[in-house]
């Protein structure tokens, strides 16, 4: 930031600064400006007081009708639905750290580009970076999302998907042959026990150990 250059006033960003809605890069630049600009400092102070007063107020009662309408709203906001992004990914966009020298809204306001000139670099200390996920060492030259961990996870996913597919194919095959087998199912058979007992007697006539009356007696008892 050069002395000859005059920072623009915060304007509508004063409320965003008070609300903590600015990313760290814009916030740092806004705070640096507030330290130097009395008008903006007054504006920011006024916003803070207003916010404090609003916070002290009791929340307005929620009418039953409004609550019903809120519950009736779909899970996705119109923006999400229109974009078609999963909600988790949608939220992640807000959490993505601002790129150094990037062109977020704050950057565009606080660091307007001049034609033919590259945006001024802003140095950000590592301690000031928002830490919203653990950082893993990534081998040099390996692009984001292509590390060995992701490859292992991907392979496991493929194996699981293949196993599930194989199991499903086996179950389908089994079901298909069972259905086809049901077409060939033999008719039900109820053995004619009484008849078989007398047939046994007839078949063993002439045998030394045979008593031709036993089967008839047994057949009689099956009818009782």
């Amino acid at each position: 930031m050069t002395a000859s250059r005059r920072d623009p006033h915060l304007g509508e960003l004063a409320a965003a600064l008070v609300d903590g809605a600015l990313d760290h890069n814009a916030r740092d630049r806004a705070l640096a400006h507030v330290m130097r600009c009395d008008g903006c400092r007054t504006e920011v102070d006024a916003q803070r007081q207003l916010k404090a007063q609003l916070a002290r107020l009791a929340p307005p009662p929620l009418s039953a009708d409004f609550a019903e309408r809120l519950r009736a709203l779909p899970d996705r906001t119109p923006v999400q639905s229109a974009v078609g992004l999963p909600s988790a990914r949608f939220e992640a966009r807000f959490r993505t750290p601002a790129r150094v020298g990037g062109d977020t809204l704050g950057d565009r306001v606080l660091n307007p580009r001049t034609p033919g000139r590259a945006p001024a670099p802003v140095l950000v200390r590592a301690a000031d970076r928002p830490v919203d996920r653990p950082s893993f060492p990534r081998p040099a030259g390996v692009p984001i999302g292509r590390g060995p961990g992701r490859r292992v996870r991907s392979r496991r996913r493929r194996i699981a998907a293949t196993a599930a597919g194989g199991f499903a194919a086996f179950a389908l095959s089994l079901g298909a042959v069972a259905v086809v087998g049901a077409l060939d199912e033999p008719p039900p058979v109820a053995p004619q026990i009484g008849q078989f007992l007398t047939e046994h007697d007839q078949g063993t006539k002439g045998m030394p150990g045979n008593d031709s009356e036993v089967g008839v007696v047994d057949a009689t008892s099956t009818r009782r």
Binding site: G165, V180, G181, I193, H200, P208, G209, V216, V217, T222
Partner: protein, 389 residues
């Protein structure tokens, strides 16, 4: 060049794995759905005793055989009435039945059960008259597996009787005893024993009134008897005339069609007669009669799946490792399924012998209903792609 991570290559690998898993599953099914038991008749043939051949018998056995034949002949020429007690004992319980019996030569035998539980107005059951002679093949089986002996004379229901004993060849324990009335030649009592000597079957007159005694010599030999030196194996005229009998050629053809019709069963049971039996439905039942000369077993085979709802008086049971439905009457009655065939066994053999017999016959393993259906499906689908099926 397609790299390792190329989507097309990954999709191809996945397809191969999925198809491989399906094929592996089908292969497992096709080998695992078969029923337990022998795969073909050859296994049974090899496992069991050889087909009996007639052996030479001595004078002592000839006399015993003569008495047995006389008893069979007396049945067809003597009129009598009496009360008879039938009994059976097995590991699952005992059964005894009292009945009134009467016989008139040429008109057959009548019988009325008078045991507790029977209806007082029960009709007489009529039994057709037999040929009046022992079957030659049955005698061959008996003399091939048992030694016969004329025992001591005893009184039975107050009548003088001669006892004939049958002992397994090489064994010491008597397997059967027959009390033969000296006067009429009728069989007064018959008892069969298991290998430990316990009685498993008996039938005996409690009282007997011979109304028209047989004529002729008391111990004369029937004309068909060839002096008992060597008993030939031949079919009786009655059997030859039976149109329902199944010959060897028919049995062989049925075996090629998948029927399991063993020539021999364990415990020395030899296929003695095969018949086609009319039963309700489109298909006939195959009735195979097995005997070792003393004990006998009838195996009925019917194509279909077992419908247990019509089995009255049966209960789920296990004989050896085979799940069956059993009823303990005077005969042991066992029903089970093996593949697409329902088997019914009726026998007077001891439990130990029946266990061997059933174990050698086809039987489903528990819970194989679905597997059998899958097996049929695989067979049918295989026939679609097999041009030689």
């Amino acid at each position: 060049m397609i790299g390792d991570d190329h989507p097309v290559r990954r999709a191809a690998q996945r397809f191969v794995l999925v198809v491989g898993a399906g094929a592996l599953g089908a292969a497992v099914c096709s080998t695992g759905v078969r029923y337990a038991g022998p795969e073909d008749d050859e296994a049974l043939r090899l496992r069991n005793a050889p087909t009996p051949a007639a052996r030479e018998i001595g004078p002592a056995e000839t006399e015993a055989l003569t008495l047995l034949r006389r008893a069979a002949a007396a049945q067809s020429v003597t009129s009598y009435e009496g009360r008879k007690l039938f009994g059976s004992w097995s590991t699952v319980g005992s059964e005894s039945v009292l009945a009134e019996v009467g016989h008139e030569p040429g008109r057959g035998t009548w019988l009325r059960v008078t045991s507790a539980g029977a209806r007082g107005d029960a009709d007489r059951e009529q039994i057709a008259d037999g040929a009046g002679d022992l079957d030659e093949q049955a005698l061959a089986l008996l003399t091939d597996q048992y030694t016969l002996k004329v025992g001591e004379r005893r009184r039975c229901i107050g009548r003088p009787a001669t006892v004939v004993e049958a002992t397994p060849i090489g064994g010491r324990q008597v397997a059967g005893r027959f009390w033969i009335d000296d006067d009429s030649g009728l069989l007064l009592r018959r008892e069969l024993y298991d290998a430990t000597g316990r009685t498993v079957r008996s039938s005996s007159f409690l009282d007997l009134d011979v109304t028209a005694p047989a004529t002729g010599p008391r111990r004369g030999l029937p004309a068909s008897y060839n002096n008992g030196v060597k008993v030939p194996r031949q079919r009786s005229a009655e059997r030859e005339a039976d149109a329902s009998l199944l010959g060897e050629a028919t049995l062989d053809r049925m075996r090629r069609e998948g029927w399991v019709l063993p020539e021999v069963l364990p415990a020395g049971m030899v296929l003695y007669r095969a018949r086609a039996v009319d039963v309700p439905g489109d298909e006939k039942a195959v009735h195979l009669t097995y005997s070792d000369g003393l004990f006998s077993a009838s195996l009925f085979a019917q194509r279909g799946r077992l419908d247990t709802s019509a089995l009255r008086g049966f209960r789920p049971d296990k004989v050896g490792n085979v799940a069956v439905h059993s009823r303990n009457g005077l005969y042991r009655q066992l029903v089970w399924a093996g593949g697409d065939t329902v088997y019914t066994l009726v026998s007077d053999a001891p439990d130990t012998e029946l266990k061997q017999v059933i174990g050698a016959l086809p039987h489903d393993t528990p819970g194989s209903g679905l597997r059998a259906r899958v097996g049929r499906g695989i067979d049918r689908m295989g026939s679609w792609i097999n041009p030689f099926a």
